[in-house]
Structures are given as C-alpha cells and as structure tokens.
C-alpha cells in the first residue's frame, strides 16, 4: 500500500523534471503515474478481495515503527470503504489531468507535481490508521492544493487560496489538539504511548474531555466537507482554482471530510456523536437548503456548481448522523456519485471558461447549438446531480433519506425539499448556459474532442453503473459499515 503513495510522490517529482522534454510531457507522466498506481492497486484489490478480511476486519494491513519514543507508527490499512475511495481518487486524478491538458500553460511540470502530491496526500488520508500519520497526510494534501489555487488560479486567486488555507489549517489545528489530547489520555490510561487507530478504539476517551476532542475532530471534518456555516471557503476556492484543482477539490478532497466523520468522528466517539446527532442532522438539512438557495442566486457557472456541492454534501452529513446501515451506505455512495458527477460539471465549467474566457452565465446561452457534445454531457451530469433514478446519485440520496426517515421523519421531509430546490438551480444553470438563443460571438466554438469525451464518458459510465447495479460497491463497503454498526450500535 505504501507503494501507492510512493509512486504518486515520485511520479510528481518525475513530472516536474520532465518539463524540459516537451510541453505535454508532464501531463503524460501524470497519466502514466496514475495508471501505474492504478495497476499497483489492481492486484492488491483482487488479492485482498479474494482472500477476504483478516481477523481485525482489514483487507490489507501494514505497519512499521516510526517514532518509537511516542509510539508513533507508520500504519496503513485498507478496508472496502478505503479501497473504493482510493479507486475514486485515482480515477478522478486522471480526469483532472485531462482537464488540465490544454488549460495550464505555465509551469506545467510543477503543476502536475502538485496535482500528484495532493493525490498522494489524499490516498494517504484514506489509508492511514495512525492518527499522527493521518494528520501528516492531511497536511500533505493541503499544501499542494494551496499552491494549485495560488499559482494557477483565476483572477482573484490569492485571497481564495489564503481563505482555503486558513480555514483548513485552523480547523486542522483543532484536530491536532484533539489527536494530542487523546494520545496523552491514552498514555495516562494505559501507560504506553500510541497513536494507532486500533488501540484508540480499544480504550476510548470518556467524559467531558471526549466531548471537546470530538468537536475538535468534527470541526476539522465539517470544514472540509464543508458544512454550513463553515463552508464559505469553498465557493471562492472552487471558483478560483484551475479546473483540475476544482475536480480534485470537489471530487475527492471534500470526501476526506466525510470519510473522517465516519471513520474517526463516529467510530472513536460513538457516544458523543450520538449525543450531538440531532444538531448535526439539522446542520445537514440547513446546508442542503442553504446551498440550494445560494446556488440558484449565482451568476457564475463555477460558483453555482460549487454551491451545489455544499447542498449535496448536506446529504452526506445526514447519512452519517442518521445512524443506520441504510443511511451510512447512502453516505458512502454519495461520496462516490457526487465525486463523479461534480468532477464532470467542473470539467465542463473549465472547458467553457477556456473557450469563452468567462464564467458568467449571462454571457452564455444557446451553447447547445454550437457545442452539441458538450451540451449533451452537461445535460447528463445535471440530470445525475438532480438525482434522477438510474444514476448513482439517486441511489445514494434515496438510501440516505430512507435511513433518515427512520430516525427523524420531520427532518427527512425538510431534506426532501432539497430534491425540488436541487432541480431549480440545476435546470436554471442548464438553461442559461446551453439553451436559449445563441450569441453571435459564440458561433464556431470548438466542441469536446475525443479525449474530453473519453474522460466524461468514463464518469458517465460510472454513474450509470452505480445507478443500475450499485451492488458491487455496496458489497465492498458493507463489511466496514457492519463493523461500525456493531461497534457503535447502528
């Protein structure tokens, strides 16, 4: 497993250096690296899936001592949920590289390096089972992303990047405090230092302290998700980031927040999580509706998609804290489905900006006529994000809401309003960009080429697969969620 991370880190370095061998070289190296990492994941996945989980429920596990003085270990472990998310990360990585193919013209090598390093951090976050290591990867993921926005972003990139950094860093600091507190408490309790997830599961924190530590973790994850009211870094960051950055940000980085909530927030602090679940459910519902209203108000294509992400992430929060098997499965599926559909929408947003040199919806209109392929793709992914049955997002939201009904029918009813408001902004976006009369200046725009269509086609097939036959994905994550249910009583 460490090979996956090493490959991505090294690939980034090679991509950086390869710039001197040609303009397209760094992007090619990136794709090759991602494919190679995928190839490394493949035998691992097939092997662990055939042998099944070990005694502790992990499909794969590796550990090395790292800083013995404080019991810090280098532990990577994979279960079905992490496997699914790592797969998603690599797939969206390829999509992101394709999205950046023609968009990035300056310092291509360093760009690809940062892209791959962010992905390395993300894969690390999904695999690390030592909390110190987890925090390290959390930072590894953050810094290159900051650079991606700050260097290759659009007109107002500097404040957006700073805002992103400060929000994430400040909340990350709370998590670090939480991690250190828990480690000290663990040492006091058992007389030994350990940062290992499995050790912490065995002797959980209790009492008032646990409550504070729980919030330290949860705030970091809520900022990342992002949840209302700590979401306001996201619209700026997404809008200003280069397309590849937005794809990775929305597609996988947000999911680390969702993943963290399930893996650490709920599992390490079940009692506190349960105690606060009503509040967090309300936060989720508010996020869904608030995001939808603001999405409808936007005049910038990318910003609209960014707010739609806030709305959809609300469903994940609901799924996590509705506290049953249905809703948890829905939340994990939503991570994947939203990753695929939003990545595609950001790719379309980037393609539009590249061609029209604007993101303003008012300057678009009737583009279907000029670019029927792009129009059809936009239609498909808008429909997916609206949650039409047959596509992955529907199954995810259905499971989340069906689970939520069982814990709170009233909140479920409010969340269902999101099904309507979601259609309002999504169709409005489609209307303004692709329908209506075509402006003179837009005649003769270049439609998507085969490379773009391949990338989007992959995402579309993924969503269709998740929508019509989600069982493989559900089976993959079922053991993780069953284990969680046994642990915390779902």
């Amino acid at each position: 497993m460490s090979l996956l991370i090493v490959l991505l880190l090294a690939g980034g370095l090679v991509a950086w250096l390869s710039e001197r061998f040609g303009e397209e070289m760094p992007a090619r190296v990136s794709v090759a690296t991602l494919l190679l990492t995928g190839a490394a994941l493949w035998p691992l996945a097939t092997e662990v899936l055939t042998t099944g989980p070990d005694v502790d429920g992990w499909l794969a596990y590796e550990s090395r001592t790292w800083i013995p003085r404080f019991g810090i270990q280098f532990i990577l472990a994979m279960d079905g949920m992490s496997l699914l998310l790592v797969g998603l990360t690599l797939l969206l990585g390829i999509v992101a590289v394709i999205a950046s193919w023609t968009e990035i013209k300056a310092r291509r090598g360093f760009f690809q390096a940062n892209l791959l390093w962010t992905l390395a951090g993300t894969v690390g976050v999904f695999l690390a089972m030592d909390l110190f290591l987890f925090f390290l990867f959390w930072e590894v993921m953050l810094v290159p992303m900051y650079l991606l926005i700050a260097i290759w972003g659009h007109e107002a990139r500097a404040p957006a990047a700073t805002k992103f950094f400060i929000f994430t860093q400040a909340s990350g600091l709370l998590m670090l405090l939480g991690i250190l507190t828990t480690a000290v408490a663990y040492a006091n309790q058992t007389g030994e230092w350990s940062f290992a997830y499995m050790d912490w599961l065995q002797s959980p924190l209790t009492g008032e302290l646990a409550n504070w530590v729980f919030w330290g973790f949860v705030l970091a994850f809520l900022v990342k998700l992002p949840a209302f009211p700590v979401h306001s870094w996201l619209p700026d960051a997404h809008t200003q980031a280069p397309t590849a950055g937005s794809v990775i940000l929305a597609g996988v980085l947000l999911k680390t927040g969702a993943y963290g909530l399930l893996r650490f927030g709920v599992a390490l602090f079940p009692e506190n999580a349960k105690e606060w679940s009503s509040l967090l459910l309300i936060v989720g519902v508010v996020g869904i509706l608030y995001g939808a209203v603001l999405a409808y108000g936007q005049r910038d294509f990318k910003r609209l998609v960014a707010y739609s992400s806030i709305s959809h992430m609300g469903f994940i929060l609901l799924g996590v804290f509705a506290w049953n098997g249905l809703s948890w499965s829905g939340a994990v599926l939503q991570m994947v489905a939203h990753g695929l559909s939003t990545a595609a929408l950001f790719m379309i947003a980037g393609a539009l900006q590249e061609r029209l040199h604007t993101r303003a919806l008012a300057d678009m209109g009737g583009l279907w006529k000029a670019m029927p392929r792009m129009g059809a793709m936009a239609m498909f992914f808008v429909i997916a994000s609206v949650g039409l049955p047959g596509l992955g997002n529907f199954i995810a939201e259905f499971l989340v809401l069906a689970g939520l009904w069982q814990s709170s029918p009233v909140l479920c009813a409010f969340a269902a309003i999101g099904l309507v408001t979601g259609a309002v902004y999504a169709l409005w976006m489609l209307q303004q960009a692709f329908h209506g009369p075509l402006g003179e200046q837009h005649v003769g725009l270049q439609d998507f080429n085969t490379r773009d269509m391949t990338a989007l086609g992959l995402l579309a097939i993924g969503l269709l697969g998740l929508g019509l036959y989600p069982q493989p994905a559900l089976d993959l994550i079922a053991p993780s969620l069953d284990a969680l249910a046994i642990k915390v009583g779902g």
Binding site: S232, V293, L419, V420, Q431, Y469
Partner: protein, 613 residues
C-alpha cells in the same frame, strides 16, 4: 412470454440509446425506421403478449436483476404483467405508435429530427417501465423518467427561452409532488422493509386497519405525487404551459403517457388506498373540483392547444373522481377512452395548426370544414367523445363515472352535481371549438392538406373514439369491482342528456346566434371572470407571488454569501487588534517609560494589597 415482456420496454429504450449516441450521423430514413419502428415492434409485442395471455394463469413476473440490497432491505429490478398493466401497455404502445407515425411527417423538416425521436422513444420506454415495475422503486424510476422526458420535449425547441421556462416549470412542479411521493416510499420502507408492490399491499392490509393514521399519511403522500404528475389541483399549473412543445408531444403527454401515471399509481395501489378512506374522499373531492375548475378555464381560452390542455386536466379530474369513489374500473376505462379521443383531438389540432402556418388562436380561424375535411371530421368525433355524447367512447366511460358518483352515500349528490355541471361546460367548450374553427366564415386560408402519415392515425383514432366504448376491460382479477350497475332511471337519463344540452347551448351561442351572451360577457363581471379563467384562476400569479418571487429574492439577497460577513468580522477585528497593538509600538521613549512606571505601580500596589493581611 418473459422474453416478450422484457422486449416491450427494451425496444424503445435501445432505440432511444442508439439515436442519442449516433443519431446525428444517421440518415433521416434510418432515424424514422428506428424511432417509429421500435414503437411499432413494441406494439406488436404487446399484441402478442395479449394473445398469449389467454392461456396464462396469472400475472407474469420477470426478474431482471437485484437492483441493490443493504442489510436485509433489497429492491429487485423486476417487471410484472397483469391485466391492469396490460391495459396501459396497449394504450401506451398503440397510441404511442400512431403518434410516432404522425410525428414522422409533422417533424419532418426539423433540424433535430433524430434528437426528437430519441426523446420520444425514451418517453415511451419510461412510461412502459412505470407500468411494468414490480416494485415502487422501478415505478418511481419510470415516474421520474417521464418527468425528465417531458422536460426534454417541452423544451425541445430550446432556442426560445419561453419554451425552456415551460419545461422547467413542468419538471419542478411535478418534482414537488414526486418529493412527497418519495417520502411516502420512505414511510413504506420504514414500516414494511420492502418496496415490492404486492408485498406492500399484503403487509399493509394485514397490519393496518382502515383509517389507521399511518395508512392515511402514506396514501396522502403518494397521492400528492399523483396530483403533480396528473396535473390536479393545486399542482395543475404546469400542464397548460407544457403546450410549448411540439404538438405530437402534447398528444403523447396527454393521451398515452405522463398524466395518466397518477391514475395508474392510485389504481395499482388500490389495496393500500382502501385503508385510507379519508384520502379516498380527498381524491374524489380534488378530482371533481379540478374537473369543474379546468372546464371553466377551458371555456375562456383562445389558444386551441390550451383549450385541449385544460380539457385534459378536467378529464383527469373525472378519473380521480372515479378512483375516489372506488369505481376503479370506471376510472381506468375513462383513462383509455380519453387516450383515444384526446390523442385524436391533439393530432387533429396539430394538423390544423400546421396547415395554417402555425396559427393557434381560434379567433383567427373559421370555416375550415370544407378546406380541411380530415381534421374536421376528427375534431367533430373527438369533441363528441370529449363532450360524452351518447354513442361515443367518451359517453360510455364518463356516464359510468357520473352514475357511480351518484351511488355514493352522503356526498354522492354533491359529487354528481359538480361533475354534471362540469360535463355541461365540457360540451359547451368542446363544441364552441368545433363551431368557431370549422364553421362560419373563412379567416385564414389552409395552405396544404395533411399527408397520409398524419391522416391515417387520425382516421384510426376516429374509429377508436367511437367503438372504444364497447371494449370491455378484463379487470376482475386486479381491481375490486362493484357487483353490478343498477340503472338509475331518471338520473341516468339526466346524466346522458346533460352533454346534449351543452352542445345545443354551444350551437345557439356560437353558430346559430339565437342566444346572445354579449350582455353577459361584456359586463364588467363577465370580463373579469373571463380574464380570470383565461389565466387559469390566477393560480400562476398566486404561486409567483407566494413562492417563486420570494425564493428568487432570497437567492438574490444571499448571493454575496452572508457567512462571509462573519468571516469578515473576524478578519476585521484581527486587523483592528493588530493596529492597536502596533500603534503601541510607537518608538517614543517617553511613552514607554510612562507605561512601564504605570505597570510597576499597579504591580506593586497589588503585591502590597496581597501582603497586608
């Protein structure tokens, strides 16, 4: 049999997929072949199924695959055919085929010919899945699918932004109903841990007594979905605007697909709805109120398609009335006959519109009887059926509904009276249409005659609109039927006579001129009412004020992200503190000494205070 059943929805689905992916590179004849042919084949397959059905012992189920399973909750993708589904299959594919054939001529000159047929096929496929779904979730897939296709087709001519607005309205208004319906499904999942329709009905009748609050809630939520999809009060506002699409699409939406989905849903779940008598009464009340209201609105319209749109809303009201009074078979029967004559009327209207250079205002039409004979006869027969004149298909079904409404103890007389008034207005406006458009002086010249691909469907539908009333539906096994239909003597005669009175009135007002109503219509009340009805009872304006504008204003108001103000506040205070502190680093020695000595004094005082006991 299983293969045939699977083929029914798969044929149009496959054709839609091919047209969507490769349609732009196909020749026109290939597109026509695929688009029309796939539905024709599906119709033939349904015919074969219906013939084989004679030997079949019971419902046929085809398990495609398990859709998903989480814990002990699982949903199958399975098709199930019984008599109720079969009636819908025949209507959808039969009428659907005629509309497709008609479209191949009507849309012949359109640039997006293949995209049109792709959407049309997808529409039919979604509707077929809706009526074949063995679980509520597959039904819901079809349900949302027809919503999507209606959106795509209403906004088909996307270059005009008004069409896009109508399309979005259709999707969003019906989606509001769908969200309620989804909540109903969540309730069923929570209670019974299944979404299989048969299992739900069995489990519900086993564990819920009639009138159980949960049963009422579940039925009310599901019925709200039907209200949206079938354009009943108060969610009917999308249907008149849906006229923005090509006319054959209107025929498809109004006759074979989409709006009848709500009827299917309630009829399909009749075992559940009988557990909620309150909801059933609400269904009857909503139905009859919609029937009357929409009939009045139809009377005031000038656009030929909007008249027909309101008439659909009104006729769907009759169907819901039937379902609400548990005359299940009458409701389903009216769905079928309505499909015949409404498809006929819309296609005939399309022919008129096309032959008059896309003129839709009936005030600019007249005297077309001899110029457009096929549309004229189609309209005459269609309107007769819509008005439910005796010896038409519409009479057979609507008369049944009126009589069964009368039988209801208590509220029967009220339901019957309102329905009867609506029936008279129906006759009035439908023959107003015939008299104004086809009689009197010629106002707009027809440029050409419809070709055979438009004329043939019209003629076939004419026949069906008359003989369709004699079809007896084999519903005994799937719907609880009343034992017999006693004749009601006077009330039966009155019910049958009402439409004739309406037609006579229309004749005297609009053709013969014996009745002069200008005094009434030109009075201030008359004009106000006409205006009010023209705008569909002002409901659009109401929603605009109550929902649309506040929502838009809210979005506008919040657009700048209110949470950023909080962030700005934190940032601002950090800057202020920073400035205060850096201002203290002034570099002036005198001030430093002063502050230092002040601090020393304070500290010394504190120490002294502490030291003294």
């Amino acid at each position: 049999m299983e293969i045939l059943l699977t083929a029914v929805p798969m044929l149009p689905l496959a054709s839609a997929a091919m047209l969507l992916l490769y349609g732009r590179h196909m020749g026109k004849s290939l597109v026509t072949g695929l688009g029309v042919g796939s539905i024709g084949l599906a119709a033939l397959t349904v015919l074969a199924l219906a013939v084989q059905w004679q030997d079949a012992t019971g419902p046929v189920t085809v398990m495609l695959w398990q859709w998903f399973s989480v814990g002990n909750f699982s949903v199958d993708l399975a098709l199930r055919l019984d008599q109720l589904s079969l009636i819908w299959l025949c209507t959808i594919t039969g009428i659907g085929f005629l509309i497709h054939l008609y479209s191949s001529e009507y849309m012949g000159g359109d640039d997006n010919y293949s995209r049109y047929f792709a959407y049309l096929n997808l529409f039919v496929a979604a509707m077929l899945l809706l009526v074949l779904g063995d679980s509520m979730l597959l039904l819901f897939l079809g349900w949302e699918g027809v919503g999507l296709c209606s959106y795509l087709l209403i906004g088909f001519w996307y270059r005009d932004s008004a069409n896009g607005a109508a399309a979005r309205k259709a999707f969003i208004v019906t989606r509001a109903g769908d969200a309620a319906m989804a909540l109903g499904l969540f309730l069923l999942v929570a209670e019974f841990n299944t979404l299989n329709i048969q299992e739900i009905v069995l489990a519900a009748s086993a564990s819920w007594a009639a009138g159980e609050p949960l049963a009422t809630l579940a039925c009310a939520l599901i019925f709200t979905g039907a209200v949206g999809k079938s354009a009943q009060l108060p969610l009917q506002t999308w249907l008149p605007d849906a006229m923005a699409g090509p006319t054959p699409v209107s025929a498809l939406i109004h006759a074979a697909t989409m709006v009848t989905a709500g009827i299917y849903l309630v009829a399909r779940l009749n075992g559940l709805f009988v557990l909620a008598p309150d909801v059933l009464f609400a269904i009857a009340a909503v139905g009859v109120a919609t029937a009357l209201m929409a009939a009045c609105a139809a009377l005031a319209q000038h656009d030929i398609k909007r008249i027909l749109a309101y008439s659909t809303i009104s006729q769907l009201g009759y169907m819901f009335l039937a379902l609400g009074v548990q005359a299940w078979d009458a409701g389903v029967f009216h769905m079928m006959t309505h499909a015949f004559f409404k498809a006929l009327l819309f296609l005939a209207a399309g022919a008129v519109i096309e032959c008059l250079h896309h003129e839709q205002d009936i005030r600019k039409m007249g005297g077309l009887r001899t110029h457009l004979p096929v549309p004229f006869w189609s309209f005459l027969i269609g309107s007769a059926a819509l008005a439910a004149l005796p010896a038409t298909a519409g009479f057979a079904s609507k008369d049944l509904i009126l009589l069964r409404a009368w039988e209801v103890t208590g509220s029967g007389i009220w339901l019957w009276s309102v329905a009867a008034i609506a029936a008279m207005i129906t006759a009035l406006y439908s023959f107003k249409l015939v008299f104004v458009v086809f009689f009197g002086e010629l106002k707009t010249e027809a440029t050409h005659q419809p070709g055979w691909r438009m004329a043939l469907p019209l003629m076939l539908l004419c026949v069906l609109s008359i003989v369709g009333g004699w079809i007896s539906l084999p519903l005994a096994e799937v719907l609880p039927l009343a034992a017999n239909h006693p004749a009601h003597g006077t009330i039966a005669i009155v019910s049958a006579a009402i439409p004739i009175v309406g037609v006579a009135l229309a004749y005297f007002i609009f053709l013969g001129g014996q009745l002069n109503v200008t005094g009434l219509t030109e009075s201030s009340t008359g004009r106000w009412t006409a205006q009010y009805w023209l705008q569909g009872w002002g409901m659009d304006r109401l929603y605009d004020r109550l929902l649309v504008q506040p929502y838009a204003s809210l979005a506008q108001w919040w657009r700048g992200e209110p949470m950023d103000r909080v962030v700005a506040l934190i940032m601002g205070s950090a800057v202020t503190i920073h400035e205060q502190l850096s201002a203290s680093q002034s570099g002036r020695l005198g001030r430093y000494v002063a502050v230092l000595s002040a601090g020393l004094i304070v500290m010394l005082t504190l120490m002294l205070l502490r030291a003294t006991p």
